[in-house]
Amino acid sequence: MSQQSKSASKAPEKSLPAGKSVVFINARVVDPSTNRDEPGGVLVKDGLIADLGSHLRRNAPAGVEVVDCKGHVLAPGLIDMQVFTGEPGFEHRETLKTASHAAAAGGVTTMVVMPETNPVIDQVALVDFIQRRARDNALVHVHTMAAMTKGLAGEEMTEIGLLKRAGAIAFSNGKSSIANTRVMRNVLNYAKDFGALVVHHTEDPYLTGSATMNSGEVASRLGLSGASKLAETIVLERDVRLVALTGGSYHAATISCEESLEVVRGAKARKLPVTCGVSINHLTLNENDIGSYRTFLKVRPPLRREEDRVAMVRAVASGDIDVIVSSHDPQDADTKRRPFSEAADGAVGLETLLVAALRLVHSGDVPLSVVLRAMTINPARLLGLHSGRIVKGAIADLVLFDMGEPWVVNKDLLRSRSKNSPFDEAKMQGRVLRTVVAGETVFEYGR
């Protein structure tokens, strides 16, 4: 739409601080967008990256604040495409402000918040509400994923054109799939006209029914009803056929099994505009971690078998999976301290996203730049953001982290208002030292 391109991305951005300069020296600069991984430095001016390279490794320009990175990794700040907050409606679980503090502590400089709030973000005024609240209260960039059906009910399309103009960055149906195939076809067809990205949770609600964990041996032993992987793959396969029909851009939000990967690979081989994501939980945990009904590991899609986790990790390494998300989903005692089958789905993950992802690097399964790519330049390109890269003129969203420092997660020290971390008491290797948003340090370890 010519009109819409004129006013594209009207979302209020963090204003860039004028005149201030800071140089990060003695860093290992890793930028997946340019395949850069070398010792050097980055000069930030007026909130933008003014210069970078090995000539800044030791030498700081005069009159500029100097940050010595001590050889640690300086990478683009992470872009997390799937963050649930409780604002509006469930502020006791999380607000945009508390989520943004968790994001900053985790090296996430841009979070895309989901429409599954109360009320659901399905109207122009609500997109505006989120963007204004975020501008006034959040430490990091916040973009709004708007609902693609009214009330997320899967029946009637939302005003995709006007929502996009208001700043909605993509469209989602939250944690539920659109079961009605005709509605899904119409959404894809309609969204295409506006260049809007459809991000879909793929799960056949009828097949899953009331099942609460992955179908298989563990579910059988625990006496829990099992959710079949097929529920995910069937909807994904249907969606890919609808993409082939309509030509609309489609992103499968979080896939979790080998069978779904096959569908995505097939779609990509046919050059369809299909991409997919995976949650950090499905790369680092499996159904056995549920142990004796640990509800903090009850997530959606459910944690699968170890073989599926390994397949997901390999697909990140091969590039078949485009994006890694935290799927940060704050839940409190009211919703989690219940029998497993009655507990809510969801796990917080903003603060542990990067360090958990480093497990894949330390295990030798995925190179650092490939892991970072799925959390920086890939989501940036999908969403049409100009961040997620360290190049001259780009916005200075950066994360500085130590690859090696060991520590143990203590959920009570998490900045998120909700403490439902599946990594509580888990050993981690790697620590976020500093997070920079538009040139401003928004988090510094130990301060």
């Binding site: 739409m1 010519s2 009109q3 059906t149 009214k150 029946e155 009637e156 399309m157 939302t158 005003e159 995709i160 054109g161 006007l162 005709r182 509605v183 119409n186 067809n189 309609y190 295409k192 006209d193 309509t246």
Partner: protein
Amino acid sequence: MAKSSTGSELTRFPRRHLLTCEGLSAAEIEFLLKLADANADAIQRGARKRSVLSDRTLINLFFESSTRTQASFEMAGRRLGADVMNMNVATSSVTKGETLIDTAVTLNAMRPDLIVVRHHAAGAVELLSQKVDCSVINAGDGAHQHPTQALLDALTIRRAKGRIAGLTVAICGDILHSRVARSNINVLNTLGANVRIIAPSTLLPSSPERLGTEVYTDMWKGLEGADVVMMLRLQRERMDGSYVPSSREFFHFFGLDHEKLSHAKPDALIMHPGPMNRGVEIASTVADDSRSVIREQVEMGVAVRMAVLEALSAHLPAQEGETS
């Protein structure tokens, strides 16, 4: 004398029914438009009622409610001297479960000369035409065809612009469900216009480019350089989120306002088959703009329908007492 010379010309329209615009030749269309043009002039001069169809019976059989089309056919029939009968389907045996074919057979037994039919199902009028001995005129069958609308639109354009060949006509709105669009695409293409269709993808039929049109989902681009902008009605039940999220969004991206209209040629004609939803597909000020020929379309409707009735009646068997 005058009557017999008209009669010899009428034999040039070689059809008994007018069911569709698909397949009508340019010569056939020109023939009807020429007749209609003369009718329009005559009506404007205040000409008296004619007797071409005197003692002929015209039945208006409308299975779908309509005010303007039914009135227009009735007016056309009366101006030509026909006895016009309006079948009120709402109170007829159709609502008692009679099939369309039984209705046709029953009506045929009454020996009418012309039947004008509107039906909600595509193809219904053609089905009915196979079961009757008289001439049948399609006044709209589902999302298929509405031939007299396309002819009156062509006449309106030609009288305003002096020609149709080479003009760029943009048809905007609910193409998927529109018989007006399909009929116009046929007629305008046959007469040599460049036809564009503009709609969100959810309101386009499949393979739209195969209909002989350029397809746009961006109205601003689709209106660029258009000589004629033809708006279609968006029915309320399409705005509930299954095809279009809301009338507000539809108007924003596909409603004709002055800003979008400014992308068309400065002297672009504004057309609408009616009835209009002001503020949904067309802004009130645009509908009432000096370039709007919406009122003329209604006027041409009577002239065109007279021409069609006249042309088809040439094939009717001679009446008793009439010499050959």
